[in-house]
Amino acid sequence: MAAVASEVELVNISINGVALQVPKGELIVESVKRLGLEIPIFCYHPRMKPVGMCRMCLVEVGFPGPDGNIRKMPKPQAGCTLPASEGMAIFTDTEQIHRDRKGVLEFLLVNHPLDCPICDRGGECPLQNNTLFYGPSTSRFLELKRHLPKAFPLSKYVTLDLERCIQCGRCVRFTEEISGDSQLAFRFRGASMQPSTFELTDFESKFSGNVIEICPVGALTNREYRFRARPWDLETKPAICTVCSNGCNIWFDHRAGRMVRTNGRTNEAINEEWTCDRGKFGHEFYNDSNRVKHVMVRNGDALVESDWPTAYDAIRMAFAEGGNRVAALTGPSNSNEDLYLLKKLFQTRFNSNNFDSRWTTYLPTAEDDLQKKMGVSMVQNTIADFESMSKVFIFGSSLADELPILFLRVRKGWFNNGNKVVVASDKPTDADSFAAEVLRYRTGTESTLASGLLALAVEKGLAQVPDATRQSLSKYTAEHVSDETGVSVDALHRAVELVAGAGIITSHGIFNTSQPQDTVETLAGLAMTTNGSFNCYALGANDQGALDMGVVPFGGGMDTHSILQGCIDGTVKALWLVGCDPFELHPDYDLVEKALENVHFLVVMADHQNGAVPFASVLLPETAPAEQDGTFTNMERRVQRMPQVLAAKGSAKPAWRVFSELAIRIQPETPPFGPADCMKEIAESIPSYAVADYANLGGEGVLIR
């Protein structure tokens, strides 16, 4: 970055008489921020291209004349479209500008309804704020305001109120520039101009929630949040989204113990300020009526309410045998502390390595580890890396569904820097729209396609491989691969140029395909031999953390499939399900059902009722992610702390506390007194986590390598 910065040409400008140097071409609306000043804005958004639609950011501009005096342009200029140039003198605080701002706001308020008392945006509305600071106190407009239908349901999530729209175009530009689905456009013109979808059909976007946040008025509102609270009644706490493995930073708004809404929180390293709909609207379960609140113990056919000591005793008895007779399976959203103490409990108290956090069809074994086998790490790039990476290869993943925020970053790289993206997928994906090359292969031929690309790269001299590998690749001629996969030979030839040296993105979803280990190894090899980088990203909120904590049976234990199989044939007597619903997670429904029916003792630890609860011998209430302090490791291996936001429901406890309490009942020791203590222990025993400490996990989090 430093090298780039030094190449940028600086120009001398002055703002309100203060001289400063800014990069040539920087927009004035950004330059004034360097002095701590502010220009009121509506349509300008730092992450989108300026359009100069609202005229709110007017400034007076002048240049020195031959006599050395500043000669002002006759008319004010829009600061959001004005690039800085040598000698420019900007005035943001003159009487003229104050009058102009008043005029602009008076015009905006001609048609904007003054329904602030019932508007969701009231209290956090840029129009309200700007009017208060810069606007006229009264209106001279006596005529009727424009009347349009209100509360139009644009989609399941977004409500459109056209009367309030000030036609800034932020939402339209968001769908064009950021999310790329171009679902919104301005229809009609002049005073009747309205942002809407094609013929007012459903607003189908994976990122529609963002337009609610960037709307500077209450024209686009959140259907879930509508009329549920006023902003000043809300308590807002920073949190981490636990819906997928991106680990987006969010503001968690709650009121009287209820989750009310979530908004994007800026973290330049991860989500910038965006959220996906799955995350933004995926926190409703905190308020669900089916939350597990009390300890239940089986008595005959029924689960009856009980207490923690009874449950601990029952679990101690059932798990006493230990070794291969007991097992645990974990879900995607347990914190690192939970997972670490679970592993410790099983290893030190039950003498067992039977625990697994993975639910894919193929479960890589200890021998499959790429690090040991090839010296290649499964995660080499951060999300932000993909912005500047000139070549990106997305393999076998519908990125917008699996890792939505990474998708936005890859798209941003293409949109701003013209990065070349190659998509290989068996189904149409959202990334196809901007891909330089799309390889649509037949399902099940992933490994052939990967080998074909590597073989072609070798043939073209793009990759150097040992002779043995060259031999084994010889059967993957372009024609053969094309026959098998259905990808044309031409497309393979075009793609291989872009794939060589590219940043490869694939996800753990690849382990649900056939021959995934071959595919992964070939792709890793392709990256290694062409100076590219390889990434196989985790999908669950803390799946990467579970791998890092070692909640995998590599110490000689059984994996997920053999644990479930063991439940059926009676080798596993007691099973502990930690925050997971195997019916949802495991690909084989019947296997799960048989396993849960047959296992002698089943502990279900859950934050809400799930499919496994009816089979439980003991049901333990677990706190949901935002109800406990804990750390999560996202798919780029960034450890972030999620402080407790809500109080625990009923007698629910964080999982780590349960494991620690049970451990001291079996064999006394000094327990960790809080999650920070757990993290200290983690940092001591897992070398890569040595840098993680509760004191420095705020901000952008800590990247583990």
Partner: protein, 204 residues
């Protein structure tokens, strides 16, 4: 804007048609014309305006949702984007289905002082329709427009791609009779002329 009514429950909102649900109506000629026009521009986005003119011709003079969706599909744009373009320009007939002939009456200053409203009222009573309305037989659409840039011929009408003016009540009787006897739609003919101009411009 009156179309902004509540359309069903929020979870059962009408969905935009998928690419395979579109009823594509461009004739082979229209497709080849569009292909030729695509080569005139660096990217497909630039081809939206001529594409809409082809659609206006192919869909009988007006652009409904299907026409807009077809243009968007053929030019790989989003439906909303093309609809935004089409509804912006007044010469694309997106607001209403037009008749076979669209009579546009200029009522700006020069025409106004030369009796444009006399002509306008006469046309309204003669056809029995108001502004932006079509006669029940689908023959005429009446529209009041802003300056047509031919003040020397005020009061002025535009019918298809032809200017007629100055006009009197007697002229109007004759014009209407002429138009009634015409078998071709002047609206479609105008769209066709504009497509031809676009095609020719690229061959300079």
């Amino acid at each position: 804007m009156s179309e902004l009514i509540q359309v069903g429950a929020p979870n059962q909102r009408p969905k935009a048609p998928r690419a395979d649900e579109l009823n594509l109506r461009f004739s082979p000629t229209a497709i080849s014309e569009l292909e030729a026009l695509k080569t005139h521009y660096p990217d497909l986005k630039s081809c939206v305006l001529p594409g809409l003119w082809i659609a206006q011709r192919e869909y009988g003079g007006s652009l409904n949702g299907e026409a807009i969706a077809e243009v968007a599909h053929r030019l790989e744009r989003s439906y909303a984007e093309v609809e935004g373009v089409a509804t912006f320009y007044s010469m694309y007939n997106t607001h209403h289905d037009v008749g076979r002939h669209k009579i546009e009456v200029c009522t700006c200053l020069s025409c106004h002082v030369n009796g444009a409203y006399r002509i306008w009222d006469y046309l309204k009573s003669k056809l029995g329709v108001g502004n932006k309305e079509t006669t029940p037989d689908g023959m005429f659409t009446l529209e009041e427009v802003e300056c047509l840039d031919a003040c020397d011929r005020a009061p002025l009408l535009q019918i298809g791609d032809q200017y007629v003016g100055p006009v009197t009540e007697a002229d109007i009787d004759r014009i209407l009779a002429d138009l009634r006897s015409k078998s071709d739609s002047t609206v479609v003919q105008m769209a066709d002329e504009i497509v031809k101009v676009h095609l020719r411009d690229g061959n300079k």
